[in-house]
């Protein structure tokens, strides 16, 4: 089953509720007993599998090879029908070279009608924050962020998507054209939400949620606004905020749950 997706740029309300989330999670877990939820992110290309460092052809005829695709996912939450929420995890740095399958062991059982997470790092943790304040195991630390923060500025790079392409349409040509998307900063945070199909969490059982990322859709296949790497190949946010915005809009729109 595929759920509908909505996204919102505004996140202020969600942030204001964060301190409550931690306490409600702990209390419920103690009262009602643990059950597991697995959140499994998979990258897809035009209905099939997608792998970093493999070559694919996009709808513009560009042959592309993504060499590095990383993204922060943060504030992964489940919602109950009464509006209460459970925070599963605060920060993940996903490297799409690897599997991105996360298991949450202590989820309060019950029926949840929605899931939400951010693509990026919310404002309270982003600008003017110091990566050196975190232990090295933390995804926002100097080590854990794996270079996903701007050193000449402040703030985390929410998503890196970079590699090589051939944009000449010449069969067998080498992939010589670099593309590089480094997108971050508060205006480019995106919220993924899905509220259409219940997620049932039962004691002693594992509920798996598949989050599929249609990488071809990020570049504009299937209705999103097109990003032709022949002309729109580079944004480090600063310098091309329009392209950064388009990338993140497409990215959040490219995610479906099943």
């Amino acid at each position: 089953m595929v759920m509908n997706i909505k996204y919102f740029a505004g996140i202020a309300l969600g942030l204001a509720t964060l301190p409550l989330v931690f306490s409600s999670c702990t209390e419920d877990a103690a009262d009602r007993g643990p059950a597991a939820v697995v959140l499994d992110f998979n990258t897809r290309w035009d209905g099939g599998d997608f792998q970093v460092q493999e070559v694919y052809t996009d709808q513009f005829g560009n042959r592309i090879r993504v060499d590095n695709f990383k993204s922060y996912v943060s504030m992964v939450k489940l919602f109950r029908s009464d509006g209460t929420e459970v925070l599963l995890e605060d920060f993940y740095l996903m490297d799409f070279k690897n599997d991105n399958r996360y298991t949450f062991d202590d989820v309060p059982e019950g029926t949840y009608n929605g899931m939400q997470f951010y693509l990026g790092v919310p404002p309270a943790y982003n600008k003017d924050q110091d990566p050196a304040q975190y232990p090295s195991s933390h995804p926002l630390s100097v080590a854990g962020s794996q270079g996903m923060f701007w050193h000449w500025n402040t703030g985390y790079i929410f998503t890196k998507f970079e590699g090589k392409a051939d944009t000449t349409g010449t069969e067998g040509a080498d992939l010589l054209h670099s593309f590089s998307f480094h997108v971050g900063d508060d205006p480019f945070l995106r919220v993924f939400e899905s509220f259409d199909t219940p997620i049932i969490v039962e004691r002693g059982k594992t509920t798996t949620v598949h989050a599929n990322i249609q990488v071809d859709h990020i570049l504009g296949n299937g209705g999103s606004e097109g990003i032709d790497l022949a002309t729109d190949a580079i944004t480090h946010t600063s310098g091309n905020t329009e392209l950064a915005k388009k990338f993140m809009d497409n990215f959040v729109d490219a995610i479906t749950l099943e």
Binding site: D130, P131, A132, Q133, V142, H151, W152, N153, S238, T241
Partner: protein, 342 residues
């Protein structure tokens, strides 16, 4: 006249084991600042102590912080040039040239935002910038730590100074900032004239230059204001009609900030040639000529930049005054030099 800077955090002296036998004892210390400077507002997690400053000083001059092992902070920030390097743009590791002129490090303890576009909020965080810049030191902080972790003396110093298990990003960023906050400069002939009542410290020509500097005619002191000779603001001075370096626009995305750069201090300006964000003007005389001509046309140019109509004599007087802002004691301070040269 000097006094002790106030400490935000009282630190008890502590004893920490070093290499199993030797003991390192840390203690809170004050930073000497001129009486006419405001107090330093130290970060809560980085009040100055003797060992924090010592560790920062050792790291500042340690070439192991660069990928090729040849570049330290002190390579581009040389004390005798008020912590600049005399180059148009700096030469980092493997002779890569940077994109900007190395700024002075004097009086960073009072700087509200760092980097020329002001993106970095603290001196602690600023340390990450050159360390990671591939044109400067070209190194990842974690690789630096990997290289330094076998240095037992440095690790013991890190433990004693910050009470942490190891030399980590927190310790490196904090100690470098602790050392840099000791780079206080406020003892020029101008300071003695203006704040210590020593009227013989400035010559007739320098006094004429001072009058011009604060005059309605030049309005220099409106941006180069206060005891630090900077408003810490961002201005487009019409250096170019089209800027290759976008300046403050890089962090605000606002086209009105295109070509705006943080006002630099003028303290020790006679020692920090060449000038401008890209080092494109070689001498103070040429800088004054540039301002006198009124800069080039740019939609964001500050309205105070326009032809000034200064005579040759007036321009010479201004330069003479600017040269009186050199603090010769600062650039000879042994406690700011590498340990081996002390």
């Amino acid at each position: 006249m000097m006094r002790r800077g106030r400490l935000m955090l009282a630190l008890a002296a502590c004893l920490v084991a070093c290499g199993g036998s030797a003991l390192l004892q840390d203690e809170a210390v004050g930073i000497k600042i001129p009486a006419h400077f405001p107090a330093i507002d130290f970060p809560e997690d980085n009040a100055p102590t003797r060992l924090r400053i010592e560790l920062g000083r050792r790291l500042f001059y340690d070439t192991r912080l660069s990928a090729d092992g040849n570049t330290s902070c002190g390579t581009c920030h040389v004390l005798s040039a008020a912590f600049t390097d005399g180059r148009r743009v700096s030469e980092g590791m493997q002779h890569h040239t940077g994109k900007r002129n190395a700024p002075t490090l004097a009086n960073l303890a009072w700087m509200p935002r760092f980097m020329m576009e002001g993106g970095v909020p603290t001196l602690e965080l600023q340390a990450l910038a050159p360390l990671h810049d591939t044109l400067e030191m070209g190194f990842n902080m974690m690789e630096v730590i990997e290289k330094l972790k076998h240095d037992e003396a440095l690790t013991a110093l890190a433990r004693a100074a910050y009470g942490r298990d190891t030399l980590d990003p927190f310790v490196i960023t904090r100690s470098l900032a602790a050392f840099q906050r000791t780079m206080v400069s406020g003892d020029s002939r101008y300071d003695r004239y203006a704040f210590e009542g020593k009227k013989d410290q400035l010559s007739e020509q320098e006094l004429r230059g001072l009058e011009l500097f604060i005059s309605e005619k030049t309005r220099c002191s409106e941006c180069h204001s206060g005891v630090f000779f900077t408003d810490f603001g961002f201005h487009n001075i019409g250096l170019y009609e089209a800027y290759a370096d976008r300046g403050r626009e890089r962090v605000t995305y606002d086209s009105l900030d295109m070509g705006k750069f943080k006002t630099p201090t003028l303290r020790n300006i006679g020692l920090t040639s060449p000038y401008m964000h890209d080092g494109s003007i070689a001498s103070l005389e040429e800088v004054v000529e540039f301002y006198n001509a009124g800069g080039r046309n740019h939609v964001n140019k500050d309205m105070r930049i326009h032809p000034l109509g200064l005579s040759a004599q007036e321009m010479e007087d201004l330069v003479a005054f600017l040269n009186a802002l050199t603090d010769w004691n600062f650039v000879q301070r042994t406690d700011l030099m590498p340990y081996e040269t002390e």
